[in-house]
């Protein structure tokens, strides 16, 4: 399983959209890393999210790769991952933080 942490603002993504989004992200991790995503989904309550001190519409998608990812590989993967997110949610790239991290060193 590929650990995948998502942070969204309350009310920003309808439940059916979220379900389809998770399915597409899991398909992405299957294609890319050979395993489905294991989600930890964190919803920020209304009036509780701020970006640059103003009410936030930002989301975060962060997954941990099972192997080290080269810089040449990481950027296109990040673009694909963020593309999946914006396609489902219709949010802009300006409202999204995407992270693909390497495994934790022992």
């Amino acid at each position: 399983m590929i650990p995948c942490n998502c942070v969204v603002q309350e009310g920003q993504i309808p439940d059916d959209t979220a379900a389809a989004l998770r399915a597409s992200i899991s398909a992405f991790t299957e294609r890319t890393f050979g395993a489905p995503a294991e989600f930890r989904w964190l919803t920020v309550p209304k009036r509780s999210g701020f970006t640059a001190s103003a009410p936030s519409t930002s989301s975060v998608i962060s997954l941990r790769a099972p192997r080290a990812v080269s810089p040449m590989e990481r950027e296109p993967l990040l673009r694909e991952l963020c593309g999946v997110w914006t396609e489902h949610t219709k949010c802009s790239l300006n409202e999204l933080v995407g992270v693909i991290s390497d495994p934790v060193a022992d």
Binding site: F50, A52, S53, S58, V60, L93, N94, V97, D102
Partner: protein, 134 residues
């Protein structure tokens, strides 16, 4: 990025305090690191298992770009804990804080790989739309 997630017990931080603490988090991070405020996210959640409180009433978890010095991180922690203390009345002992370094090259924000610390001005000049959108 940075992303600051503030976890607390239910009702510990009221809605009036959140924008004040978020403003302080943004100001402190920018003052200490020189980063522009456009990058600073401060999110408040309650009873989140992702950031276990342990014996604390509040835990502030900051994911920040790699490259900050230990002194910068210590200053960030000291000043952000003080802000939460000021706006909640909690004692400093009840307020925990942790930071984690994330390489800029691991992060896509505003449709572009994040700049390394100190290279933000050039990045923002290239992405004026991102800056004005926030």
């Amino acid at each position: 990025m940075p992303l600051y997630i503030c976890n607390s017990g239910k009702g510990t931080i009221d809605d009036a305090a959140k924008p004040k603490i978020a403003s302080d988090i943004t100001r402190i991070h920018c003052d200490v690191t020189g980063a522009p405020p456009q990058f600073v996210h401060a999110f408040f959640v309650e009873d989140s298992p992702a950031q276990p409180l342990g014996d604390k009433s509040v835990l502030l978890f900051g994911s920040i770009r790699s490259g900050r010095t230990d002194a910068q991180k210590a200053q960030i922690i000291e000043e952000m804990q003080a802000s939460i203390h000021t706006h909640t009345g909690l004692s400093l002992e009840e307020i925990g804080m942790i930071t984690a370094d994330v390489p800029a090259s691991w992060v896509l924000e505003g449709g572009e790989i994040m700049p390394e610390p100190g290279e933000e001005a050039e990045w923002l000049a290239k992405h004026g739309q991102h800056a004005s959108a926030e």
